[in-house]
Every structure is written in structure tokens, then in C-alpha cells.
């Protein structure tokens, strides 16, 4: 996986300058791993036969797990890589949810309905 690029260089302690290319690269990484997490979560959820609320709860569990992984990858210094603090949880939440539901329905259909 591509390493997150250090985006912020602070010439003084007051304001940090974020590098465009690095920010874009980091967002690409977030998007990529969010899609993978949603897909894997959906497949797991479908195979396990989770229905209804449990299914959605599982999605948010995977979101939280993914946030933990991202924070770890960023060395727990999120501000060095991203301008917005809550991105680790909220990045592309709905997009991921859609992908999760797709894989969930698909695998649930394959395993349990047929």
C-alpha cells in the first residue's frame, strides 16, 4: 500500500502549509481503503447472515476499526496528514455504506437465498 505522505510542513508553530499533491494522495488512500473495508465487511456480513440492524451495526464497527488502522498508520498524528480532524471516521461514509450494502445483499443472496 502506498505510504501516506507527510502533508504539513510548519515553517512556524502558528500555521502549517499543506502540500496539495500529498493531500490528494492521502485522500486517494482513504478512498481506496474505505472501499476495500466496505467490500470485505459486506462479504463477511452476508456470509454470517446478519440481518437488519445488526448488519448496519456491523458496518459501523468496521468503520471504527478502519479508523483505528488509519490512526495507527498516521502515527497518531492525524494533523500532520490531513487538515480535518474527524476524517478518520467520516470520510466517504455514505459511499462506503452503499458498497457495503451491495456486497451484503449479494453474498446474502448467494449464500442464503439460493
Amino acid at each position: 500500500m502506498v505510504e501516506k505522505k507527510q502533508a504539513a510542513t510548519s515553517s512556524d508553530k502558528r500555521d502549517a502549509v499543506y502540500s496539495e499533491a500529498a493531500i490528494r494522495n492521502n485522500f486517494g488512500i482513504l478512498e481506496y481503503s474505505r472501499t476495500c473495508q466496505a467490500a470485505a465487511g459486506g462479504i463477511a456480513s452476508g456470509a454470517l447472515g446478519l440481518t437488519g440492524t445488526y448488519g448496519f451495526l456491523f458496518y459501523f464497527v468496521t468503520v471504527f476499526l478502519q479508523a483505528v488502522f488509519w490512526e495507527y498508520k498516521a502515527g497518531f498524528k492525524w494533523q500532520d496528514f490531513f487538515a480535518v480532524r474527524n476524517l478518520s471516521i467520516s470520510h466517504s461514509l455514505v459511499g462506503g455504506l452503499l458498497t457495503y450494502v451491495l456486497f451484503w445483499v449479494f453474498i446474502y443472496g448467494i449464500v442464503y437465498v439460493y
Binding site: 486517494g28 467490500a39 448488519g55 459511499g95 458498497t99 445483499v105 449479494f106 443472496g109 437465498v113
Partner: protein, 242 residues
Amino acid sequence: MSERTPNISPIMTDLLLDPAIRTWVFIPIVVVTFFAGIVRHYVHLLLQTKKKGELVKLQDTHYLAKARLLRMNGGVLPRADFEMRKHFLTNEKEGYLQQKMQAPSNQANMMTDPSMMTEMLKGNMLNMIPMVVIGGWINWTFSGFVTTKVPFPLTLRFKPMLQRGVNLSSLNAAWVSSASWYFLNVFSLRSIYALVLGDDNAAGTTMDEQLAGVNPAVQQDPKQVFKAEWEALQISFHKFKL
């Protein structure tokens, strides 16, 4: 395609669907949607008109980049050099950024700009038409039976929408028809396109995203960008790192 009515069996499924549906409907819809998106992306690439860049615009971009780099890496220049470059860009009378800021705004009406209109129209058409065509075909071919069961409970209000061809009043709303499965695919495969085709793929954008992205960005862009860059340079001060 046989469907047995539910009885008092303890297994999870209440309807038993013919495995032929799985092979010939369920999976083909996913495959067709996915490849239609990929084809759409490549057609978009093929039909793109080559944009002839104007020299002035290119020059502007380069100067902007130079200003940005100056801000970021000014610490390695000696103070005099830094001030000289800053002066060139931001001076009241002859600074490059100042001149560009005062330049009359000729971005009067971007909507009537012909080249951009055709670009937008092409993009819209390219996205809408296949979706409508494939949706119609699926609705026509695979009608009259349920395709799959969604794992979450849905209220009865969704039934006429999701179970287009099936007229069983007692059927659980979780059983959906192929058309709704197709739409779920269309909306959810967008993030997968980003994975497969790289970041800026033509298969992923919808009409309103295109509209919103093109319009405000271009209209205010040049003057605002210069102004922002000018302000940023004004407030940056030189700290010698070497």
C-alpha cells in the same frame, strides 16, 4: 422457475428460488452493470475533445505555482532573494499578481461558452442513456419474479417500488425484483470504479456532480485564486532555515 409457498419449516428462507435465477439473473445484472460502466469510461475518453490551452492561461498557472512554491520553500533562499521574488509578485504597481487581480473580469457568462456546454452535454448524455437503456431492458426481460431478498426489513410502502412485476400482496417487502437490484448496483459500483479505473474516471460522476463541479469553479476562479495567492504571500514572512 418454481416458487414454493412458505410452510412451517425452521430453515431461514421462506421462499425457495430456483438456482437458475441466480446464474442467469442475479450475477449477470452485476456483470452487465460493471462492464457498462467500464465501457462508458473508455467511450468518454475516446470522445474527449482535445482542449487547446491558451498561452496566457498557462503562464498564469505557472506563476501561481511559483508563488505557492515560494511560500512553501522560502526558507532555503537568502532573505534578499526571497524579498525580491515576493516584490516581483505582489508589488502595488507592477507586481504580477496585482496586475492579474485588476484585470477586467471576462468570465461574464460561462454557461453560454459553447465548448464547455458541449462537453457537459456529452457527459450527461453519455451517463444517462446507457442507464436508461439497460434499466429498460432489464425491466422488460426479467420481470414477473423476485430476484433476491435484502437482509434488512423494509416497510410495506416500498413494495410497489421494489417489486415491480410481482403482484403478491402477502409477500414480504424484503423480496425485491431485478430492476431494484440493478439500481442498487448502479449506485454502489461507483466506489469500485474508483478502485479499478483510478481516481478521475468518467464512470463515476453523475449529472449533478458534473454541474456543480464545472459551474462555480470556473466562474470565480481566476480572480479569486490570484487574490488568495496575493494575500497568502503578503502575510508570509521569511525564516531562513539554513
